[in-house]
Amino acid sequence: MSTTGGRRPGGEHEVRGLVFRDDGEAETEPEPEPRPPSPARAGRRISRQKLTLLPALLIAVLLATWLWFRQAELDPVSENALSDGRVSKALWQHVELTVISTFFVLIIAIPLGVLLTRAAFRKATPVAMALANTGQATPAIGLLALLVIWLGIGRRAALIGIIVYAVLPVLSNTIAGLKANDPTLLEAARGIGMSPLGVLTRVELPLAVPLILAGVRTALVLNVGTATLATFGGGGGLGVLITTGITNQRMPVLVLGSILTVALALLVDWLASLAELLLRPRGLEVGT
């Protein structure tokens, strides 16, 4: 993952150095130390470079593509494939596919991950993981074909295919995140009188957020990619442009479909990385 951009610039080791220096009376003395994080820090977590570099690149690529299309001479077949708002419709369908599938992935995989880490269901974890693994190991296009045979052509089959394909990263990261929590910390939480639900919502999940979000980000990017296959099941999306380009041997159509897919994937990844930085609980970043 390339999320290093959000690290706090320097200063993190000074804090640790205090261990042997203070205590006793010395604590009341002012210490030359970074101030406690205030709400204002949220803005500082994201560096300017992180904020501007990728969008600028994307805008440049899209602009170049647009300029190229303005001067390109398109034959009737290409014209037909790209006119009447077909491009924006395909793009919009693609975004919809991605958003809806990701939503379902989240509401399936995260609760499932939580459930599988509870003592009562822990034994079922290998089975569930094996199933999720099969989901991802199956070639997406084969899975889609099977689903179309079963459910008929349409967006539903495409969506289910995408979801099955993307459950694994979120599920395994949720489980890994929850399992990585220090057992003594959880015991302390119970020891001070938290109910099991309280321990989960106040301690376990917040601490697992970084890993869960990393899984979500992977799933999002996967979904943008898999959604291009939805066209084979009649689900629409940018895959339509790509297949049209290939079957009719029209380079401009193919290129436009590909560039838009790539740009969308990068944009989604960038947004997810921002979300990762913003949603990560404060206090975890020092020394991690």
Partner: protein, 425 residues
């Protein structure tokens, strides 16, 4: 330290003081293990008392502690807190009424210091303003500046500071009972010493019932009103005051645990204020030289202690120094390097006396003002007296114990506190 048991009225009016804890035939068995992890522990802990469980690792002391707040459910036996049987009540409700402090890893890293401290009151449904006030009060109580530490995250604190916050969190909802599971195990020795002193100070103010688990016998001696030395399966080898354990260990296991130098450890249990402090001829820097001469001659000693304007020990002056002083005291005499307070242990005093080249140390009171002097002779005499008294106590106690053993065959219990029951006729 034995006098801390609820004889003095609580300094804080708001605080709920301790409750009794009774453990009755408490046993824990784990599946597939024929030997119980904790075997039939019976123990009574008085309200406001600090009891330390000490024993080798794996002896079940921690398991016993966790059974009190039922983090580990006992297989059999009863637990009563403040007379109420809590063995079958809702464990979540029970734990909110029992403070729990463990090593620094017990703080939630994603919450600020204030959120960590305020979490138990928040769960019990205190109004926000009251929680806020309480957090400030607790930070203040454990010696951290509320303004500075309020918004910090645990990872921005040192080990000792984290531990203070841990204690503050355990005390936040004002529970009558406080369980501490090796809370100072992860900090360096100097910090640990500070934290122990702080805990003693806190306990003097709050009078909670504290059950403290450690494997460090010195820590046990320092903190405990009574110490339970546990051997494997939490069998109680001896349950008595630190003095009694030091002077009269019940068996080889206990004496092995006490280790060498019991007499030296005994010095930790007595404060300078408890022994005789001798008066010493003094003078202040403002006194005219002639007066100082007079006083030296009248005092019959070779030396006089010069105090500064605020009455703090400043210089030791010998006769010879005065001869050479020639009208000014600015260069005469030797500066006072080391002083001890009335609250210092005899061990600290001995250290100071041994390092002083003339074998005496000045005792100071409030704001460092002079109160008297302790020298080698006083120390030796008081230690002798102390050990003699301990020996008599222990003999009496042993007699008691044998009698009670003959009466009721329950070898595990040490009986409540030495010297409480009168000597048998």
């Amino acid at each position: 330290m034995a006098e801390t048991t609820s004889t003095t009225p609580s300094a804080r009016s708001s605080g709920a003081t301790g409750a009794t804890i009774e453990l009755e035939n408490l046993t824990k068995r784990y599946h597939g293990n024929p030997q119980p992890a904790v075997d039939n522990v019976t123990m009574e802990i008085a309200a406001g008392e600090t009891v330390v469980f000490v024993g080798p690792s794996g002896c079940g002391k921690s398991t016993t502690l966790k059974m009190i707040n039922r983090l580990i459910e006992p297989t059999s036996g009863r637990i009563r807190i403040g007379g109420e049987d809590v063995t079958d009540i809702d464990p979540v409700g029970l734990r909110r009424k029992v403070g729990y402090a463990i090593q620094s890893s017990g703080l939630f890293p994603h919450m600020t210091v204030a959120q960590n401290i305020g979490i138990v009151p928040k769960m019990t449904g205190w109004p926000k303003s009251r929680i806020r006030a309480r957090v400030e009060e607790m930070l203040d109580l454990v010696g951290l500046d509320p303004g500075e530490f309020h918004g910090r995250y645990p990872r921005q604190l040192s080990g000792g500071q984290q531990q203070r916050v841990g204690v503050a969190r355990a005390l936040a909802a004002d529970p009558p009972v406080l369980l501490m599971d090796e809370p100072f195990g992860a900090v360096d020795p100097i910090t640990r010493d500070h934290l122990q002193d702080e805990l003693i100070r806190l306990q003097r103010e709050l009078h909670k019932t504290i059950v403290f688990v450690t494997h460090d016998f010195d820590e046990a001696i320092k903190l405990g009103d009574r110490i339970a030395v546990l051997r494997e399966q939490s069998h109680i080898a001896q349950f008595d005051t630190p003095e009694a354990i030091l002077t009269n260990p019940a068996d080889d296991f206990v004496s092995g645990f006490v280790g060498a130098g019991a007499a030296l450890k005994r010095l930790n249990l007595t404060r300078v204020g408890d022994v005789e402090i001798t008066d010493y001829p003094t003078a202040t820097v403002d006194d005219p030289l002639q007066d100082i001469f007079q006083r030296l001659r009248a005092g019959g000693t070779n030396e006089i202690l010069l105090l500064d304007k605020r009455g703090r020990p400043y210089k030791w002056l010998r006769r010879g120094d005065l001869m050479r002083a020639k009208g000014s005291l600015a260069r005469a005499g030797t500066l006072v390097h080391d002083t001890v307070t009335r609250d210092a242990t005899l061990r600290d005093a001995l250290e100071a006396v041994l390092t002083d080249n003339a074998g005496r140390v000045a005792v100071t009171g409030r704001r460092g003002a002079y109160e008297g002097v302790v020298d080698m002779e006083t120390l030796i005499n008081s230690v002798h007296e102390m050990l003699e008294a301990d020996r008599l106590d222990a003999l009496e106690h042993q007699h008691d114990l044998e009698e009670s053993r003959a009466g009721q065959t329950r070898p595990g219990q040490g009986g409540g506190g030495s010297g409480e029951r009168g000597a048998p006729a």
